[in-house]
């Protein structure tokens, strides 16, 4: 089963994409839910950053919210205050955040394990304070509003064109997902895995642990900034309250529930966790409580998240299948008289 899945994964991905594109308008009929879905897709990009940092590199980071905030506020400042072209603003936001994360990463990644996690909490908190209080630049508690549409030339992407916006972000998520898949298969992916599992082994295999972590941090930060920038365009508005420490924790949860080691899993996990509260509105007051409990239960019973569950189910099926086959074929082996 696993093998079959592996063999046809590109076909499956293509089918999934097509089905998604065709069915979204009818599955998500109302405007409000579409905006929620759009935001969910935005979060997917940020969570992909965690797949690199945590899933591949093993580094727990709370910096996602902070970096996303920088991307979002830069976009707000570039478009609203400086009147820059929107695509240019998006590109600049991502690149500047990338540069910034090079310095932050170089400083914070001298720390390891828990220390780094704390430093990333402090980083996100400091940024949050700045976003909330630096009135002339970030608008303080009011944030920045009236962010224009993302102007692609042939189309203006904003809340009015939310369906098109969804397709656009979905396309980006697909591309980023494929890039991550590629990273996983090449030496950067393997180096990151070595950093995650055993830094000493990594060193003795010629992996520059510090540099590799910084590269992962930059990738994660740029993905977060891309998410932040798109968030600004989609909602037309940025505020400090979107980029809190709690939100950083939510991204970690999204990544883990979907499956930290899987690009597809983290996609599904993120979308599910964004849409679910809206679909289960009847639960209203109880939703977040149940959500917390479900997080604990999921970690206990499926620590590798949704993707891990699917994988282990398929593996089990494989084993059963194999056993049956062995029983059938043992006769043959005996007659061959081979001894291996």
């Amino acid at each position: 089963m696993l093998k079959i899945l592996n063999k046809y994964k590109w076909l499956l991905l293509a089918i999934f994409s097509v089905v998604f594109i065709i069915s979204v308008p009818s599955i998500v009929p109302n405007h409000y839910l579409r905006i929620v879905l759009g935001n969910g897709l935005v979060y997917v990009l940020a969570v992909y950053g965690l797949v690199v940092m945590l899933g591949m590199g093993g580094q727990v980071t709370f910096s996602t919210a902070g970096m996303m905030g920088i991307g979002a506020f830069l976009t707000g400042i570039f478009t609203v205050k400086l009147g820059l072209n929107s695509v240019l603003a998006l590109v600049c936001s991502v690149i500047l955040t990338g540069l910034f994360s090079l310095f932050i990463g170089a400083a914070l990644l001298k720390l390891r394990g828990n220390y780094f996690a704390f430093a990333s909490i402090a980083f996100t908190q400091v940024l949050y304070m700045i976003f909330r209080n630096w009135k002339p630049v970030t608008g303080g508690p009011d944030g920045i509003s009236n962010i224009p549409a993302l102007d692609l030339g042939f189309i203006q992407l904003n809340q009015q064109t939310v369906m098109e916006f969804i397709y656009f972000i979905f396309g980006l998520a697909l591309i980023c997902g494929l890039l991550l898949y590629r990273v996983r298969k090449t030496s950067l992916g393997r180096s990151l895995e070595s950093v995650r599992d055993d830094e000493i082994a990594a060193n003795s295999l010629g992996v520059d642990v510090y540099r590799t972590k910084i590269i992962a941090f930059i990738i994660a930060s740029m993905l977060a900034a891309l998410a932040g920038s798109l968030f600004a365009f989609l909602n037309g508005y940025v505020s400090s309250e979107t980029f809190t420490f709690e939100q950083a924790g939510i991204y970690l949860i999204m990544a883990m529930l979907g499956g930290i080691n899987s690009t597809v899993g983290s996609f599904i996990g993120t979308i599910t966790l964004t849409i679910l509260p809206e679909v289960l509105r009847d639960l209203k007051d109880y939703f977040r409580f149940i959500y917390g409990i479900v997080v604990i239960i999921t970690m206990i019973f499926m620590p590798m998240g949704f993707a891990g569950l699917v994988k282990s189910l398929l593996t089990k099926l494989d084993h059963k299948f194999k056993k049956k086959k062995e029983i059938v074929t043992t006769g043959e082996v005996d007659t061959n008289g081979s001894d291996s």
Binding site: T186, E193, D208
Partner: protein
């Protein structure tokens, strides 16, 4: 003679424990240097100092004519100092294939960008087949490394090291926990190393093995070199006998 690695008056202490005391040590290309001594003598520490996992307190490490004393571990690995560990170190949550490919990555050293854009490296598959023929077992490459037996892991660690074509290979107790057949395979792997002109440092407790493959042996006790000679002389050295017997009571 082709000297590839040289330690000059190397010292290392951990708090009150002197793990390396003025150690002088030489390794030649294409030869196996035995490193023996009682438990806690400082053998593993010496490997850690050579590979750069620990910094020396004092002294010099010369590799391939260069002073590498202050070169970080990962750079030493890229220069050609390969090693295995007393308990194998793998990426426990990765596939066996990824684990071994790290060896080829080390040899190719093409950088992340080149690798990302699909630059061809050395022929991993072909190399690996040759080595797997020597070790004589098969594995499912997609399985996690933790799913295979200890002995196989120990051998795969040497395979991984050989894939990186090191100039010096440091092997820490490769035969510990292996059965007789497996030990023979390990010897085959070491011999392949010799045929590639690799200078090998072999830490081992099994005397028969050390005696049969090493061209010279260094004996450590309490971090100090107490004997450095050819195998025949080492077994008859009184200090060595005393160090080993003294441990037993």
């Amino acid at each position: 003679m082709g000297l590839i690695l040289e330690l000059n008056n190397v010292n290392k202490r951990f708090g009150g424990v002197v793990a390396a005391n003025n150690v002088n040590f030489e390794v030649e290309k294409g030869k196996i240097k035995g490193l023996i001594g009682p438990n806690g003598a400082g053998k593993t520490t010496l490997l850690n100092l050579i590979s750069g996992i620990y910094d020396v307190d004092d002294g010099k490490i010369i590799f391939d004519g260069q002073d590498v004393t202050n070169v970080p571990a990962h750079k030493r690995a890229r220069m050609g100092i390969g090693r295995t560990f007393q308990t194998p170190r793998f990426l426990d949550r990765s596939s066996i294939e990824d684990n071994l490919k790290l060896g080829t990555d080390l040899f190719d050293q093409m950088g992340y960008i080149n690798s990302f854009f699909g630059k061809k490296g050395s022929d991993y598959q072909h190399e690996l087949e040759d080595l797997m023929e020597i070790v004589g077992f098969e594995v499912n490459w997609d399985d996690e490394i933790s799913s295979i037996p200890y002995g196989q892991r120990k051998m795969l660690e040497i395979v991984r090291c050989l894939l990186s074509y090191p100039k010096v290979m440091l092997v820490d107790e490769p035969a510990a926990g292996l059965n007789k057949m497996e030990i023979e395979r390990v010897v085959d792997l070491l011999n392949l190393g010799i045929s590639r002109d690799i200078g090998i440092v072999l830490i081992e407790h099994r005397m028969d093995l050390v005696m049969s493959v090493c061209s010279s042996i260094t004996v450590l006790n309490f971090g100090q070199v107490i004997c450095d000679s050819i195998p025949e002389e080492v077994v008859n050295n009184e200090e060595v006998i005393e160090a080993y017997l003294g441990r037993q009571d």
